[in-house]
């Protein structure tokens, strides 16, 4: 249900509480007041003014966080496009938007092709945006949502998935970083087909490097001018570089082992704090070792590669494809074992059962339930620097909670209620199986259809 029930205080009494940050409280009470967690523990008294939720048989978890998302945005392509050249499933791009960014084919870095680094998604999110309600029904209370079009997509925000009046109410933190895609995410198609610069991998990399060199110089000149403008030609305002300078961290795409290696090297040149996203081949021990050595966090797409349902019957999948399909879901377990910080992200999955199934697959591939939960709560909060306000059930943190009957990742488990900013939501009944096709984008699905699907939400 979209309508939140507001109470000054809510107390969930006698429930099992999985705090994530601390040990599990087998029978305890959580009090949420004014949108914040007021108290949590075994022997917490229920305030007399609080609405009481009898928690017998219920489990309380911190609200889940989607660590790379397009939820809350109006329509738009899935963040899958984001993962860039990761695989056939994720090459669906957003050509329309990218084309709008670069109307004329770009000839060089000066034209700032496919760059909207100044764009802040915080200005664009809407409580009626994509995925808010369905994701919340699946237990997600927050998302780190990014504009994902072009090379420099723009600046993301941590949002709470509330149904309210204004998008502004949703913002928890902004900006949270710059989204960078490398690969043919738009423009005029690559391969020297007249799409303008850049259209090759080396072009993309050269362009990203140039932007950071430009930004460094820009800052230097700007600071000098600010200190003493007299007698100095004023530097020209460049919104692309302003956007880059505003970003605290960058997100770089890396699905294959070679890409992980490549991005780690590129990031060293850029001298920026960074996070990698994608992780399709992170199941390889070499990949985990690289990440561990560089001490870099990875956002792992939960859209595990699947067989194309409309494949040519004569086409035999390559061993590499089969291996990736078989092992991709074991990446979280591998990263956990190697001690790499990681979080999971929805990558276009929205329906509750698809999200559950995706997490379940990682669990079946060796990830412990506790680690899976952490990868969807405290870890993303830490990665994006908001662990001081969300990601676990602790006093003073935002009142984002999921209350379930049974283990949260079990398919049979029902999400009884969700609290976002202390507001209670009762999930809508699940749509019957097969009712939605949006869980996985068809590789060939064109933009118009994607937009349409977005409108339907």
């Amino acid at each position: 249900m979209a309508f939140a029930q507001s109470h000054p205080a809510v107390a969930i009494h006698n429930a099992k509480i999985v705090t994530v940050s601390g040990s599990v409280i087998n029978k305890g009470t959580v009090v949420v007041r004014n949108g914040l967690i007021d108290a949590v523990g075994e022997n917490v008294a229920v305030p007399p003014d609080a609405m009481l939720v009898e928690g017998e048989g219920l489990t309380v978890y911190p609200g889940l966080i989607d660590s790379l998302s397009n939820w809350g945005q109006a329509g738009g392509a899935s963040a899958a496009a984001a993962a860039g050249r990761g695989g056939r499933g994720t090459t669906a791009a957003a050509p329309a938007a990218a084309a709008a960014v670069t109307a004329a084919p770009a000839r060089g870095p000066e034209d700032r092709p496919q760059t909207t680094s100044w764009l802040k998604i915080a200005d664009e999110v809407s409580p009626t945006g994509r995925g808010v309600e369905t994701a919340r029904s699946a237990g997600f209370t927050s998302a780190v949502t990014f504009p994902t079009r072009g090379i420099f997509g723009g600046q993301g925000a941590v949002i709470d998935l509330i149904s309210g009046e204004k998008g502004a109410e949703m913002i928890v933190a902004s900006p949270t970083g710059q989204y960078i895609a490398i690969g043919r995410t738009g423009g005029g198609g690559g391969g020297g087909m007249g799409g303008g610069f850049p259209s090759s991998l080396m072009g993309y990399i050269a362009y990203v490097r140039q932007i950071y060199l430009d930004a460094e110089h820009y800052k230097l000149v700007k600071d000098a001018y600010a200190a003493n403008p007299n007698g100095m030609t004023r530097p020209e305002y460049d919104r692309a570089l302003e956007g880059v300078l505003e970003s605290k961290r960058i997100l770089l795409p890396a699905n294959r082992l070679v890409e992980i290696d490549r991005m780690i090297h590129l990031a060293a040149d850029l001298k920026q704090p960074y996070i990698l996203y994608g992780g399709r081949e992170a199941y390889r021990p070499e990949a985990a070792a690289l990440l561990k050595k560089a001490n870099i966090a990875l956002l792992v797409s939960m859209r595990w590669p699947e067989k194309n349902r409309d494949a040519d019957p004569d086409d035999v999948d390559s061993v590499r494809t089969l291996e990736t399909r078989d092992k991709a879901a074991s990446a979280p377990a591998m990263l956990q074992k190697a001690g790499v910080k990681f979080a999971l992200y929805s990558d276009g999955l929205e329906a509750s059962r698809d999200l559950k199934a995706a997490v379940k697959k990682a669990i079946d591939a060796g990830l412990s339930r506790e680690d899976a939960l952490r990868a969807l709560t405290l870890s993303p909060a830490e990665i994006f620097g908001v662990a001081d306000r969300m990601g676990s059930i602790e006093k003073g943190k935002i009142g984002n909670l999921v209350v379930t009957r049974g283990d949260i990742f079990e398919n049979s488990t029902k999400v009884e209620m969700v609290f976002v900013d202390g507001r209670k939501y009762v999930p809508a009944p699940e749509t019957p199986a097969g009712g939605r096709g949006a869980a996985t984008d068809d590789p060939g699905r064109n933009q118009a259809e994607v937009n349409q699907a977005g409108v339907k939400q």
Partner: protein, 430 residues
């Protein structure tokens, strides 16, 4: 036919007729453009030119079954490419009428012992390949000699085959148009069967239906023509299909993957037309069917990359051996104007990968002649056949072998070409 007036005697040579056992130290007499005699101790006719053949070998001139020779000079220069016309069904086009006898390519291929080629019109109006969108029938392929004053002079068969480009399924073309590795597809937005297989199959079925409809139309025309009803109007396009419908001219069908070849065979059976499959892949999958229906094939590039990332490295190299094992009749085509001269080495590579040597030699000589309906005239060294011969220093499939003399219709053609002319020019520079 313009025949050589000269009588030539090749003496004491080792003759490899291809169709029979080698004959050592025999004499071959070329007269009136034909092979007049082969035998030991033959007396040279009066006034004959005598070529001492001791230590040399005589083979039939080789035949390339897949070229655009004479139609395209420099493929990247539009003005020199005349391989095709726009239009979905263009059976009235004759490649022969556009052959340029002065093409530099002929001289190059002759040096390697190639005396005849099949030259095909391909799709793409004026601008060469791929310029004209989808085309199903590109016109009549000609079997031509690689020497002659005019195209009429060069013609062995002005209409040796009708070229049908069978629709491809899933965007996979012939060899070389094979499926790209996953890594490449990942980088191309919309690739990897962008619209999915269902959509690709739908397009394919619609195109096949179009071809069937065209054949039905041609058959109707054939009937009306036979009836000679009043008001009957001649139509060159449909007229050109009659020899095909009558089974006099085979359809040369470009079809690469097994399922498409299977469909092409079914189509030919239903239409009761003769077919030859060009550039098939997956011979192992369709070999039995081809053999059962007695359908010959023209094999494309042997030195090619495997189709998928997990295919064995020698996938393309072993196709000829697979064809042989399946009992399929085959010849070779280079399907690349720049490399027609490599025809013998294409066959040689196949020998390295399991094809018996004799079969390789046949595939570049007599098999091709038979497939294109001229087995009684060319393709072997036999008495009474057209004198298309090469005299070599050794095995013609071997790279180190030199062709010393080449005869087309009994006339010696000097083994000079642009490269030898340039060589002479710069060697004599002071």
């Amino acid at each position: 036919m313009v025949l050589s007036a000269e009588t030539i005697v090749i003496r004491n040579a080792d003759v490899y007729p291809v169709t029979g056992a080698a004959m050592m130290g025999v004499t071959v007499i070329l007269q009136d453009g034909k092979i007049a005699e082969i035998g030991a101790k033959l007396l040279p006719p009066k006034g004959a030119r005598i070529i001492e053949g001791k230590g040399l070998r005589v083979y039939p001139g080789m035949i390339d079954s897949g070229t655009e020779l004479g139609l395209s000079e420099v493929s990247s220069t539009r003005e020199t490419v005349d391989t095709g016309e726009i239009g979905e069904f263009m059976p009235q086009l004759r490649a022969l009428s556009a052959v340029n006898p002065e093409s530099e390519h002929f001289g190059v291929v002759r040096v390697n012992g190639i005396t005849s080629v099949m030259t095909y019109p391909a799709s793409g109006g004026g601008g060469g390949r791929g310029g004209g969108g989808s085309q199903h029938i590109s016109g009549q392929a000609a079997l031509i000699h690689t020497d002659g004053w005019t195209w009429e002079d060069m013609a062995v068969d002005r209409s040796a085959a009708m070229h049908l480009i069978f629709p491809s399924l899933g965007g996979r073309g012939g060899r070389g148009g094979g499926m790209a590795p996953d890594a490449i597809l990942d980088m191309i937005p919309g690739a990897a069967g962008a619209a999915g297989f269902t959509a690709a199959k739908r397009t394919y079925d619609a195109q096949v239906a179009k071809i069937v409809a065209f054949f039905d139309e041609a058959r109707q025309y054939q009937k009306e023509r036979a009836a000679n009803a009043p008001g009957f109007k001649r139509d060159l396009k449909l007229e050109a299909m009659i020899p095909v419908l009558e089974g006099k001219v085979p359809l040369a069908v470009s079809a690469s993957r097994a399922s498409v070849i299977h469909d092409a065979i079914a189509f030919a059976e239903k239409q009761k037309v003769k077919i030859v499959i060009l550039q098939p892949r997956d011979i192992a999958k369709v070999g039995a069917e081809l053999k059962a229906k007695n359908i010959p094939v023209i094999l494309g590039r042997v030195l090619a990359l495997p189709d998928t990332e997990d295919s064995p490295y020698d996938e393309a190299f072993t196709q000829p051996a697979e064809a042989y094992k399946a009992g399929v009749k085959f010849a070779f085509g280079t399907f690349n104007n720049e490399f027609v001269r490599n025809l013998p080495y294409q066959a040689a590579t196949a020998v390295g990968f399991g094809l018996p040597y004799d079969e390789a030699l046949k595939a570049v000589t007599i098999n091709a002649a038979q497939i294109w309906g001229h087995g009684n005239e060319i393709g072997s060294v036999e008495k009474g056949k057209v004198a298309d011969l090469i005299v070599t220093t050794g095995d013609p499939l071997e790279i180190t072998t030199q062709v010393k003399y080449l005869f087309i219709k009994g006339k010696e053609v000097p083994l000079v070409n642009k490269q030898t002319r340039l060589y002479e020019k710069y060697m004599s520079r002071q």
